[in-house]
């Protein structure tokens, strides 16, 4: 282990970010309106950027600091703005139809977080940047993001679930493999942006042609 000068401060800050990120993920489960969910996603992405920044400063890696700036530009500003433009097109105050209601969702979220922490310990993953007690956070984001996607029957919410799942992978990448070449991080970020553009086009088509935002009603194709 390379004892960095601000070892304790960095670990404490990383732990705080991890806990706050997990809370945003639970807040996502609690948000009923789509524009609330967008705001929660933006906050979570800001935390992701702060985390990359922290690791970049600690390790003295300029590429991670650039990645943090790009994260802010794309995930905190561009993607939420883009989705909000979509929302003016559909009913923004529209409550997302829930297959599983909020209290039950939160309970499931907490259970999934528990599973994530347990499995992170079981894997014994060597977290380079996350202190041991919070290693499970990226896995929790992946599991809860996936659960959010399958339990929220709204096209925009499903995109947000996917993006939040990607945030989990982003955290995992930075904490497990901070040396992974910059180009990889950039490609992933770029890919998220491209995907959102395409999803947005598709979502718009679905809303315009089928007059619905809920995928509950999309049930022609079975078996």
């Amino acid at each position: 282990v390379n004892p960095a000068p601000h070892y304790d401060f960095v670990h404490a800050a990383a732990a705080l970010i991890a806990i706050a990120t997990l809370l945003t993920e639970l807040a996502l489960l609690g948000a009923k309106l789509v524009h609330e969910q967008v705001r929660v996603y933006a906050v979570q992405s800001l935390l992701a950027a702060a985390f990359v920044m922290l690791v970049g400063v600690q390790r003295g890696q300029a590429d991670l600091i650039v990645l943090a700036a790009l994260t802010v530009a794309i995930k905190v500003v561009l993607i939420p703005l883009g989705i909000n433009r979509q929302l003016t097109f559909q009913a923004a105050e529209h409550e997302v139809p829930l297959v599983i209601k909020v209290p039950m969702s939160l309970l499931i979220g907490v259970v999934l977080a528990g599973i994530a922490y347990w499995s992170a310990t079981a894997i014994g993953a060597i977290g380079v940047a996350l202190p041991e007690p919070v290693l499970g956070m990226p896995i929790a984001l992946v599991l809860i993001g996936f659960f959010f996607m399958i339990s929220r029957q709204n096209v925009i919410s499903q995109i947000l679930g996917l993006l939040s799942l990607e945030n989990g992978i982003f955290f995992a990448t930075v904490s497990l493999a901070p040396g992974m070449p910059f180009v990889v991080g950039f490609l992933i970020l770029f890919d998220a942006a491209a995907a959102v553009v395409f999803y947005g086009v598709l979502a718009r088509l679905i809303v315009a042609r089928m007059r619905q935002t809920s995928v509950l009603d999309m049930s022609t194709l079975r078996g």
């Binding site: 996607m149 497990l176 992974m180 070449p181 180009v183 890919d191 395409f198 089928m210 194709l221």
Partner: protein
């Protein structure tokens, strides 16, 4: 090798650009056709004339081609070429229903680019990016018929596919982390680097990584239970796109699983990789085989058949040993030929009868003998009857299963192949040969076969017949070398 690789990937990109500029003009189609055939020719040169079986690296470590990549490159380049030829005919007025014409050609070429780039890249991250690119472009192609069902199918596809690929990416990140103790915290994740350090990868992390990779990329392969998107996307897209998805996309995703599997084999031995592939392969084979019995939509039927065939390839690799692995790689090639032929035939049926329901298609042989023969031959070939290539590859896998011995899985393959035969042949037999037609079962559009569509079908058929009867020596060597890459030499 470097020059050939550049041609393989540059032609589709160039065609995408030309067709984007050309818009609705015929030059878009012809440029794509030329790119497809040129890319296939360059692939044949790269694989055979430059001895890919030995493993070739080019362009400063950007490109890597070995036996494993060679097999999949041939499959996807073939599919791209015949689909481009077929599409020129299919997009003629009054034949196929394609509404987004100005987008069709640029996206088809980008799709082709991503497919042929997949077996060429020499980097884990680049591999993930090209596979993700296939999702984005093909999802838009799925909507090309422009109706509500196709939008629903595309949405399902993009959501499930992206979630799967996100899981696959986590697997790649973990694999990278597994290499860090041996290769240092910041290394270039090329196959060479990882394969060279395979014996010192962290075993636990590698195992978890590969499990995530099988589930993640397996979603795009269509392995059960991650297959939910596949029947809808295959059924609702225009038939040439269905052919591209079935013969090309599934193979490209399977290539990613096997490429990363080869690294995992080096780290933790072959048993772990084989067990996972056996489990998912057997499950896919059984469930998809049973589903073929209850499909009344003939394109969905073919889609379930694709899941079944991907299950067969996984099973063949999972059984292990040189014979079964050889059969599995041969199966990748013949499935590409068989499924393009079958979906091309389905496109003919759809354009003539304007329904996907097998119950409303009767007397194809009387109405249009050429289409009737093609569709029926495709059904027989895809269902695994001799003298076609799929019979040969399945027989090889079964033989491999008995020599291992893996009796249970060999027997399972025999039983399920027969069940799928009943499901597929019964439906197509009724559509093509029975003449008990009701008034609404007659072809709505009568026309003679479109020459380019016919040429594409005859090409696929020729490959199916030739590979069923004779394996050329260089291909034989390539298939053996592919088996060697995933640790099935003994």
């Amino acid at each position: 090798m470097g020059a050939a690789a550049v041609v393989i990937v540059a032609l589709p990109l160039l065609a995408a650009l030309i067709s984007w500029v050309a818009g609705d003009r015929p030059v878009a189609g012809w440029a794509s056709l030329a790119a497809g055939i040129g890319s296939l020719a360059a692939s044949l040169v790269a694989v055979f004339a430059q001895n890919a079986a030995a493993g070739v690296r080019a362009l400063g470590g950007v490109v890597y081609l070995d036996g494993l990549g060679g097999v999949f490159l041939l499959a996807v380049a073939f599919v791209y070429a015949v689909v481009a030829v077929y599409s020129v005919g299919y997009l003629r007025p009054g034949i196929g229903h394609v509404r987004l014409r100005h987008l069709y050609w640029p996206l088809l070429n980008l799709f082709g680019f991503a497919l042929v780039a997949t077996p060429l890249v020499d980097n884990l991250a680049a591999l993930w990016v090209v596979i993700e690119l296939t999702t984005i472009v093909s999802a838009v192609l799925v909507t090309a018929e422009g109706n509500d069902a196709s939008l629903e199918a595309a949405w399902k596809y993009i959501v499930i596919g992206s979630a799967g690929l996100a899981v696959g990416l986590l697997g790649i990140v973990l694999l990278y982390a597994a290499g860090a103790p041996a290769l240092g915290g910041s290394y270039d994740p090329t196959y060479t680097n990882l394969a060279g350090a395979a014996s010192s990868l962290t075993p636990t992390l590698t195992r978890v990584a590969f499990a995530l990779i099988v589930v993640g990329f397996g979603t795009k392969v269509g392995l059960v239970p991650m297959h939910a998107w596949l029947p809808d996307a295959h059924s609702e897209s225009p038939s040439p796109v269905s052919a591209m998805l079935s013969g090309g996309l599934l193979a490209a995703a399977l290539y990613a699983v096997l490429r990363l599997g080869a690294i995992t084999v080096g780290a933790v031995g072959p048993t772990y990789v084989r067990t996972l592939l056996l489990a998912f392969g057997a499950l896919s084979l059984v469930l998809a085989g049973l589903f073929t019995l209850r499909q009344s939509n003939y394109k969905r039927l073919l889609a379930y058949s694709s899941i079944e065939h991907m299950g067969i390839v996984s099973l063949g690799i999972g059984i292990g040993g040189p014979i079964a692995a050889y059969g599995a790689f041969l199966h990748v090639l013949v499935h590409a030929a068989g499924k393009t032929l079958a979906f091309f035939g389905a496109g003919e049926l759809l354009s003539r009868y304007e329904t996907r329901s097998a119950d409303h298609v009767r007397g194809v042989m009387q109405a249009t003998p050429f289409t009737g023969v093609m569709v029926l031959v495709a059904a027989i070939a895809v269902a695994g009857m001799p003298p076609f290539g799929i019979f040969r590859s399945e027989l090889t896998i079964v033989t491999g299963g008995f020599t291992r011995p893996q009796y249970v899985f060999a027997a399972l393959l025999i039983v399920m192949a027969n069940i799928a035969f009943v499901g597929i042949y019964r439906t197509f037999h009724r559509m093509v040969l029975s003449t008990d037609r009701r008034d609404d079962d007659t072809a709505r559009v009568t026309r003679s076969p479109q020459p380019l569509m016919a040429a594409a079908m005859l090409t696929s058929l020729a490959v199916l017949v030739v590979l069923g009867l004779w394996i050329p020596a260089p291909l034989n060597e390539l298939l053996h070398s592919a088996a060697g890459v995933i640790g099935a030499r003994t």
